[in-house]
């Protein structure tokens, strides 16, 4: 190595900084144990430390940091939901995302692109109009647009009526954005660790300790850990953990597959979604198209790929962008999603005292990472559920007050 270069490497002006502290032994007890070191669990740890001064916190994960659905979603952020409860909740998340990079000192490549949800039928147009009115009422920038505006917002889109499902209009949501999803988790991990939170990877929870209807700790592959309060945030495995805690969930674990194309020149500014064609697509800053469709047709604890997914997605995508027929796929993956009957999440209290749940995030969890962490931290710290989370309570299924978010949360309908 040239000496001149080595000199810079050894200068005290450039100290080696670890992103996360080195692994250490588990303590026998913590105030709060969070199960799941994905975006939601890490965000909860961060806000517990930052907003509530609770730093005796341990985040456990059976795998590696943010290796589950935090790394497997399609990184779309928006708040144009259908129910007032949903819009209010996701809007707080969008506001937290907008200042995220500055607040945490970590660039998440937040990029506001605009979000077009295409309507190909009169029924879809009616739902779009309904969503736009709910959104505007809640102060969210959202409107129904037609072909002239769509052509201006997204010139490459095929607006011909010589296709199976001609485009009639769209719901346009200007604040719709994408961000680098891994960076969101890494930022929360680093800032939580800076405040004293311990993150233990490759530490699987194998049992929930309880006495008199109250949680007292967890069993792990590295021994038992006592805890004052426990949070589960383990999308995909929510039912398995809840079973250890002694209750059942309104959740089925269903894979969602996604893929990216080879990098292309920048041509697609907005995020484009079509419910009728079961497609959503956006272009990343490095040019890859990120593409996803509907969930798999049945439940599975696995992340295998299927040809059927790629066949149907590509057939539908080519109707929107015929010139992509020559583009190649670069890679493909899947995540295990928590699908609920009403396409809304499950957050808050559980039948087990001091045991809190953050689950049911289906195909819509990434965009909620900041608000979920902030509000779950508030729930854990105060021991009661804030208004904004109340509609998402587990007991809503017992009370028959579901949220009905399917018209805005999924493309498979």
């Amino acid at each position: 190595m040239p000496f001149g270069l080595l000199k810079y490497g050894l200068l005290p002006r450039y100290p080696v900084r670890r992103q996360l502290p080195a692994d250490r032994d588990l303590k026998p007890a913590y105030d709060v144990v969070i199960i799941g070191a994905g975006g939601h669990g890490l965000a909860t740890a961060y806000y517990l430390a930052r907003d509530w001064g609770i730093t005796d916190v341990c985040v456990l994960d059976k795998g590696y940091l943010a290796g589950g659905n935090t790394a497997r979603n399609t990184a779309i952020i928006r708040s144009n939901y259908l129910t007032p409860e949903g819009v209010r909740f996701y809007d707080e998340s969008v506001r937290l995302f907008r200042t995220f990079s500055n607040d945490l000192g970590y660039n998440i490549l937040y990029s506001e692109r605009g979000h077009l949800t295409l309507a190909h039928t009169d029924a879809a147009l009616r739902t779009m109009r309904w969503r736009a009115e709910v959104n505007k009422h809640m102060g969210v920038d959202s409107e129904l647009v037609f072909l002239d505006d769509i052509a201006r917002l997204c010139p490459p889109l095929n607006l011909s009526d010589d296709v199976r499902y001609p485009i009639l209009g769209a719901l346009y949501h200007a604040p719709g954005a994408i961000a680098r999803h891994d960076a969101v988790a890494w930022a929360y991990a680093r800032e939580a660790a800076n405040r004293g939170v311990e993150i233990h990877q490759r530490t699987e929870v194998t049992g929930i300790r309880q006495s008199d209807g109250r949680v007292t700790g967890v069993e792990t592959t590295r021994g038992p850990v006592a805890a004052g309060r426990v949070v589960q945030a383990v999308a995909g495995s929510s039912s398995l953990l809840a079973a250890m805690a002694g209750f059942r969930l309104p959740i089925r674990t269903i894979p969602l597959q996604a893929c990216v194309s080879q990098p292309l020149k920048p041509f697609l500014d907005p995020i484009v979604v079509s419910g009728s064609l079961h497609v959503y697509v956006s272009q990343t800053p490095r040019g890859e198209l990120v593409m996803g469709g509907t969930t798999d047709p049945y439940a599975l604890y696995g992340t295998r790929s299927t040809l059927a997914f790629k066949e149907t997605l590509m057939a539908d995508l080519l109707e929107l962008f015929p010139f992509l027929s020559e583009a190649k796929l670069l890679r493909q993956w899947a995540g295990m999603t928590d699908m609920t009957p009403d396409f809304a999440p499950v957050m808050g209290l559980t039948p087990l005292e001091d045991y809190f749940i953050d689950a049911g995030w289906g195909t819509w969890g990434f965009k909620a990472t900041p608000v979920c962490g902030k509000r779950m931290a508030e729930t854990v710290a105060r021991g009661e559920v804030p208004d904004i989370l109340e509609p998402f309570r587990l007991s809503r299924f017992r009370d028959f007050v579901q949220l009905g978010e399917k018209g805005a949360a999924a493309v498979g309908h």
Binding site: S237, R248, P341
Partner: protein, 93 residues
Amino acid sequence: MKIMPCPLNGPRNISEFVCGGEVIPEPDPATADDGAWADYLFLHENAAGIVREWWFHVPTAYWFIAERDTRTDEILRAYPPPAPVAGPGDDGE
């Protein structure tokens, strides 16, 4: 392509079928309260392992039961529902 061994039609492409969910006993309508119905309708075992599920062959409108490993996606066996033939959700036993 994944193949389902349909008890009526023999091995067929999985895309011809719809999964009807776990085989769970239906509450007794004469005695079940609202809570029991809510649990029956909305809660799932969602087990990781071998499960019994209702499946429906769409072209022939035929319901049957299949045993499948939800960790490996392996279909172990499929057989007609016990008489009387019932819809999804009825344990049929």
